[in-house]
Symmetry: C2
Amino acid sequence: MTTSQRAHTWQDIQDRIRANIQQRVWLPGELIPGEVALAEQFGCARTTVNRALRELASTGIIDRKRKAGTRVALQPIRRVSASIPVIRTQVEAQQLSYSFKLIKYQLVVPPDNIKQLLQIKANCKSLHVHTVHFSDNAPFIYEDRWVNTQTIGDIKKVDLNEISANEWLVQHVPFTKGEFVVEACLAKASVAKALQVDVKTPLLRSTRTTWLEKESVTMVKLHYLPGHQMRFEI
Amino acid sequence: MTTSQRAHTWQDIQDRIRANIQQRVWLPGELIPGEVALAEQFGCARTTVNRALRELASTGIIDRKRKAGTRVALQPIRRVSASIPVIRTQVEAQQLSYSFKLIKYQLVVPPDNIKQLLQIKANCKSLHVHTVHFSDNAPFIYEDRWVNTQTIGDIKKVDLNEISANEWLVQHVPFTKGEFVVEACLAKASVAKALQVDVKTPLLRSTRTTWLEKESVTMVKLHYLPGHQMRFEI
DNA sequence: AAGTGGTCTAGACCACTGA
DNA sequence: CAGTGGTCTAGACCACTTT
């Protein structure tokens, strides 16, 4: 019995509710008391109970529906999350020196798949950039990026040898939503060469696409050095 | 101008604040007005502004500190998140039939690396299980799992041919925290055979370790079929 | 139609932390 | 020490959904 006896912070209320679920007082699928009832039971305001329940629902432990009430999730869907920092910061956090090299810079009409993905109008040129990121002078990440210059015209004025597209975009272009896909792949010749590894080495690839309201911003494929681990918290 | 002119929901307030940041009215690193000032400016209660700012902070767009105030993040650290469902649910969500096959079940003293990872005492047997999960009768995921039977003794009574360890644990054992690591690897012979792919195929591997308070629960390595994508939202 | 969660408000006190 | 965010309260109204 380490929990404080009569604390009214929403976290304490949340702990008490979670305990009821973990100790199977309330079984999966079962309806739990309403907010007003819990507030009375815990001796706090309904607002506080609401906060506790709302955050529990966001972790997937409970399901809430108006009128239907709150139920212990039948299939607790766990949410994992991680922060995605700028690559430079990611390297420097390990006390290593960071550098990068721009190896391709083109303003071209993108191929059809990119056009479709970023919803770029026909015959509109976009910025295509390849960058290698180094950690302590060793290749670390290979970056293949398309930037929608209709949305982000300013980037054409930037010297991407001085600041990486990754960092410039993060600092100058907020986005409203995005998608992040992770998969395993074999290194293609060009990527393998840039990362100084054998062809057919298994690599972790992340593909991120971001949007500013209805307009696409950028699509970037990152190939990580073999053995790289992407870490999440549950 | 699609946003409603004078709505006082916290989301509307949040949109207005986000707009100020995205339109560079408030620059990165800059102090933004305090909650009371914003509440007055937007004509709403401070609580509402607080909610809006709190959720913005959780996405990494702003940094908040007591007394120091709220600043636009200099290096916006984006958080990605995804839900991790039970494998059966994951398959069935695609309208495919799910099945699994238990191919190894052993109660043994784990090797040192597992002992250390799960903090299992010397010479204590743990449960080691290998399972192949099928999507529409084709191998989908290869699962290699250790369960700490000191923490979860009940699982020894379960027939893991009837319900997968994955599903039983999710339904019966809540956990308090966990770690989730994703990496690329080459299929070893045993995994390749089970997934019916060539040796040296690049696979996505996720390793999850979960804890119930201070006690380890389970460590599970999942090898996904080649081409599998793990998707996150930003 | 009614019950439940979702949210807003106004006011208050607290906790942290920078000056 | 003083200012800022963090939270609690009590009451109210609203929105969604199931009955």
